[in-house]
């Protein structure tokens, strides 16, 4: 009874957050808008009866990934974004692009509007159902995805480390004997 109004309200919050994400100039405000988007998406999942998905959405996206985003923005102390006057190419290609995309989405929705709407509880809600889907019905895609993510992590490590950086590049401490010799000639660092 209350589900539809709540669904619409949080949908509106979600879209507003997404627009705010683009409009804001300061990166931290954009990151916070993204958190709002993700949290309201979680509420939408909850309203559809997919409570496990909602919890994971909050824990993983809003609670872990976005904390890292905010952490990096804070660490780099990123300032306000600088805006150019806007490029003509973007205007010429972007506006028709948005129009075409909107028409496509609208056409698809209208074309398939006679299909059954997602009913409350139609999504796999309880953790057991999700587990059965993940580890039984879709085991292969699930495992392949995890390997893919592992490869991505390894790639990130390779890209981030400079050649030879993994080898310890710190100068080794002078040995005890050497220290004594240095001290003897008054060159102790």
């Amino acid at each position: 009874m209350l589900h539809l109004p709540l669904f619409l309200i949080f949908g509106a919050i979600c879209v507003a957050g997404a627009i705010n994400l683009l409009v804001q100039r300061h990166p931290i405000n954009s990151a916070l808008s993204l958190i709002v988007v993700m949290a309201s998406l979680a509420v939408e999942y909850l309203l559809l009866g997919a409570e496990f998905l909602a919890a994971v959405q909050v824990i993983v996206y809003a609670g872990a990934i976005m904390v890292l985003f905010v952490f990096v923005i804070m660490l780099l102390n990123a300032g306000e974004e600088e805006h150019t006057q806007g490029s003509r190419v973007a205007l010429l290609l972007g506006v028709p692009g948005i129009a075409i995309g909107g028409v496509l989405v609208a056409w698809t929705v209208l074309r398939h509007s006679n299909t059954e709407a997602v009913a409350l509880g139609a999504l796999p809600g309880p953790p057991k159902d999700v587990a059965r889907l993940l580890f039984h019905d879709f085991l292969l895609p699930f495992e392949v995805t995890s390997v893919l993510i592992l490869i991505a992590i390894m790639g990130a490590v390779v890209l981030a480390s400079k050649p030879g950086a993994i080898v310890r590049d710190r100068r080794p401490e002078p040995a005890q004997e050497e220290k004594r010799e240095l001290a003897a000639v008054g060159k102790e660092r």
Binding site: E51, V58, I59, A62, A64, V67, V70, F71
Partner: protein
């Protein structure tokens, strides 16, 4: 039960629980001051009321009447929002914590309004089948309060505190979550009520999952920024860390959030490892109904005491030690415990 009764009962339960939680928060501050004084051979608060029992009240009044400073260099919106975020998430995690069996109120009459039938309601605001996940989600959102406070204060000590808090919370959240999975495998449910019910007949998970318990306890201390993990507010190097620029009620809100998080952690440790409200039950019906709550409160009190005890016993970690301990010691132990538990359960099934 009609929807009106349900809503009224939910409101009463929420209001009661929030006031109990806030009182508990105030008196854990008192407990901390008293116990720390005892440990250091002092008296602690003695002036306000017997044994200084009214000290939290006096502190609250003082916080309200203090001047609320807002420095000109802060990012105002986030500076004001940060303590609110911290305290709201800290308090809302109490919503799924069960603290006893069902409570039955016998039928009574409201005069001309008619009679209210016998009402049976669980001693919990709501029992979700993702209760534990909800608490994890809420606590993982709570870090924004600290991180944003550090950033929006626009001062170096605050920023360092906020950075340390977010890095530390991300690192220890992983071992915290993994240490709970062992219990979840044994209990087979995310609902806190089911987890407690599966520990009947003294099958407390502290006996079956001792490694998980200590991993949980250590990472929970790090999550709540308590000594020996209080790097985000290390007063000897960062003045007061992320809340350096806060005063009056805004500062008090961070304080409340920290102690409310401690209460949540103590409740979770009780529910997951110490059988929640389970314990010997005897006597007349009314005593039988209330004894579980007493057991629950006693266990939670023990964990609160342990918090204080640890704080005034152990010195603070160095930052690199903290990170190395989290990633190189605690996380492998948690993973190993999880693998062993899963193998044993699979083998016995």
């Amino acid at each position: 039960m009609s929807i009106t009764t349900y809503i009224i009962i939910s409101i009463i339960k929420s209001a009661a629980l929030i006031s109990i939680l806030l009182t508990a928060v105030a008196y854990s501050v008192w407990l901390e001051r008293k116990v720390s004084a005892r440990i250091q051979n002092r008296w602690g608060p003695t002036r306000v009321g017997p044994f200084g029992l009214l000290q939290p009240l006096a502190d609250g009044v003082k916080f309200i009447f203090k001047e609320d400073l807002t420095q000109p260099y802060v990012y105002k919106t986030l500076y004001i929002a940060a303590p609110i975020i911290a305290v709201v998430f800290a308090i809302s995690s109490i919503s799924v914590i069960p603290f006893g069996n069902a409570l039955t109120i016998p039928a009574f009459s409201l005069g001309p309004l008619g009679t209210v039938g016998p009402i049976t309601t669980p001693l919990q605001i709501t029992d979700l089948n993702i209760g534990l996940l909800l608490i994890l989600g809420i606590t993982s959102m709570g870090v924004y309060g600290v991180a944003l406070a550090g950033w929006s204060s626009n001062s170096k000590y605050s920023l360092l505190g906020g950075l340390r808090a977010s890095a530390q919370m991300i690192s220890y959240e992983i071992s915290l979550g993994l240490s709970l999975v062992g219990v979840l495998i044994l209990a087979g449910s995310f609902s806190l009520r089911d987890i407690v019910d599966s520990q009947r007949h003294m099958h407390w998970y502290i006996f079956l999952q001792p490694v998980a318990f200590f991993t949980y306890l250590i990472s929970a201390y790090a999550e709540t920024n308590r000594t020996p993990f209080d790097l985000p507010e290390a007063e000897s190097e960062l003045v007061a860390g992320y809340h350096t620029e806060y005063s009056a009620m805004k500062f008090a809100m961070f304080f409340m959030a920290e102690y409310a998080n401690m209460v949540t952690v103590a409740c979770l440790a009780t529910l997951l490892f110490f059988g929640g409200w389970l314990g010997p039950v005897f006597g007349p019906p009314i005593v039988q109904m209330l004894l579980p709550v007493v057991w629950f409160c006693l266990k939670v009190f023990f964990f609160m005491f342990l918090y204080v005890w640890v704080r005034w016993t152990l010195p603070r970690f160095r930052y690199d030690q903290l990170m190395a301990f989290g990633w190189k010691v605690l996380l492998p132990i948690a993973i190993a415990n999880l693998v062993v538990t899963a193998l044993v359960v699979a083998w016995r099934a």
